[in-house]
Symmetry: C2
Subunit: 138 residues, 2 copies
DNA sequence: ATGCTAATGATAGTCATTATCACTATCAGT
DNA sequence: ACTGATAGTGATAATGACTATCATTAGCAT
């Protein structure tokens, strides 16, 4: 049922090629620049389909949804509210405790999302830099 | 600067009166029914102001933001993707490990959000009930 | 009581995402 | 390879949650 199209291949390739956390608009812009423009609606549908197929993963950040490549290992995110950057981390013990909580509550956990909001090292140590004020807030 | 108005008192009272996780629309509807109608824009501003003042808390769920009363203790949420219900839980060890991760990364954590998505006990054991299909998906 | 200014509320606007729809492309079965 | 069923595309309209605007109202510091 899920068809392989040039548009989806382009989207998938771009996401798998880097550690960037893309949102639909950024991805569409990048595809235009690389000469393989894809309609914005198709980008949204493609991202949704690829996520459904387990080929990419997503992080819901406020009103925006960002997509990233799939790692071998699940990870969570540190979100800098100054510059919008996402940093990844892995903490197996947290994962284990989450599963344990769900188990205790009779809750069949399918998924989870852990976001730590705050100021990243770079922003915390260079906040005299006025340029950073232009960074997107979350 | 933050003024006390009947509208905000009504909003605060409603949220503090129950364990319900309200969103702006639901709250506005409830206020209309209780005879103290408040403009939808005022509800949004009131919720934001009350959260800023530390009188209520919020959980960002997909595209919607829900508000809840402040407990003595921080808690996280189990989100049922079948019926949309929110269940709360506390796991101090997870909290501690989060702080430790941030510390190690040189990240100044200000806040966090942990959501466990899945099927709650009620939905998991009564999914033959067709009515549940009408439940709002997250 | 008075005035400064925050708050209200009706409504218009914003913005990310989804639906629509005519058309195109994939792919399974011949 | 041909072809039909149907999934995908893309331009654009629609949706829906939230925010801005602005004239008017109302806390609250003095």
């Amino acid at each position: 049922m899920l068809r392989v199209t040039p548009q989806r291949q382009a989207i998938l390739a771009l996401i798998n090629r880097s550690n960037v956390h893309w949102d639909a608009e950024e991805l569409a812009r990048e595809l235009v620049q690389s000469g393989q423009a894809v309609g914005i609606a198709t980008v949204y549908r493609g991202l949704s389909a690829l996520e459904g197929a387990g080929l990419i993963a997503s992080v819901q950040l406020g009103d925006r949804k960002r997509y990233e490549r799939i790692d071998k290992s699940h990870h969570d995110h540190l979100v800098c509210t100054e510059c919008g950057s996402l940093e990844e981390f892995v903490q197996p013990e947290i994962e284990r405790l989450q599963a344990q909580v769900a188990e205790e509550k009779g809750f069949r956990m399918l998924n989870h999302q852990l976001l730590l909001f705050g100021i990243c090292y770079a922003c915390d140590n260079h906040d005299s830099n006025q340029d950073l004020d232009k960074g997107k807030k979350i």
